[in-house]
Symmetry: C2
Subunit: 198 residues, 2 copies
């Protein structure tokens, strides 16, 4: 009785391994942070040999940079569909809820983790800066889709960056603060937009 091993092309094998490694890297970033994301730990989680890991990503730096691209791409895959569904979400309050979700995915946590590391790593910083521009554009598209009625409101351009920055700040602070505090913030953002746009 021999196990039937499905024949795969080199490209398929390679891509699968690469994916496993990157997924493990993201998991690692979320669970134990940037400092805990060692090549050994990634290799264990991905269940690949050292050779495999080093073959795909010759150095830890290259692994993390690749993770950046992977992460932002994954986030686009999350945000994209939300844009399509945006018309079903009603008004200011629903929009804030949807927006807040995108700041709370595991992906966002992993990105935040790399963001911290980027301050002392030129290579990472450059990679993140580049992707961040696209991410912001995507968030912007999401907002426009969520609030088509307000896009032309004179206060739209004023309020948007502030709320987005505030969400960034709140997402970060969430590490040490209570869920209650987060709920209060959500309500605050909604009230602000009502105040400015209604």
């Amino acid at each position: 009785m021999t196990t039937v091993v499905a024949r795969r092309t080199q490209a398929e094998r390679s891509a699968a391994t690469r994916s496993r490694i990157l997924a493990a890297t993201v998991d690692c970033l979320v669970e134990v942070g940037h400092a805990g994301t060692t090549t050994l730990e990634v290799q264990r989680r991905a269940e690949v040999s050292r050779g495999a890991l080093l073959h795909h990503f010759p150095s830890r730096a290259e692994l993390l940079v690749a993770a950046v691209y992977q992460l932002f791409e994954a986030q686009r895959d999350v945000v994209g569909p939300e844009v399509s569904r945006a018309r079903e979400v009603g008004g200011i309050d629903g929009g804030i809820d949807v927006l807040w979700i995108s700041f709370n995915s595991p992906l966002a946590v992993a990105i935040d983790e790399l963001w911290s590391a980027a301050r002392n790593d030129d290579e990472l910083r450059e990679a993140i800066a580049k992707e961040d521009r696209h991410a912001r554009a995507e968030i912007r598209r999401l907002c426009d889709a969520l609030w088509p009625d307000y896009v032309k409101h004179p206060n739209y351009e004023l309020a948007l960056p502030i709320v987005i920055d505030a969400m960034h700040g709140a997402a970060r602070a969430r590490v040490v603060r209570s869920d209650r505090a987060t709920a209060k913030r959500l309500a605050g953002w909604k009230q602000l937009l009502h105040e400015l746009w209604d």
Copy 2:
């Protein structure tokens, strides 16, 4: 010709060494980040022996926790005087400028660095959470002192946390974004408060 060594009490010697170590730790956090803040690097910067370092702070964790207290205390020393000077600063715009400064000191950078590390370190997180409450109260006092005329405005409680969160978010994003972007944000916050309070 013998060098005259000033006689110091044990307590003085000890306190001086401790200060040097903590100051070096803060420098280290600012310059090379949490990951780069090794006990060896701190020891080099403080110009103390390994024995001295380990005597005052038996483990790296204790060193970082001590740094948390030191940092928040130092920040209080910075923010405190600002509260007294607040009456000299005029209006919304000046207040925003002052507030923004407190998010840009090296201290804030070091705190942010520890904040990142805290996500995966229970001891640190607890220490930071505790101090953070005081810090927020202090910031609140500063705001009240900066804008005594608006404290009772119905939108005061609405706008304040949002602006503070936004400053947190913006301070963090500054790592990868341009100074121009920061200037735009400053203008935005000012405009928002004018919109809500005037």
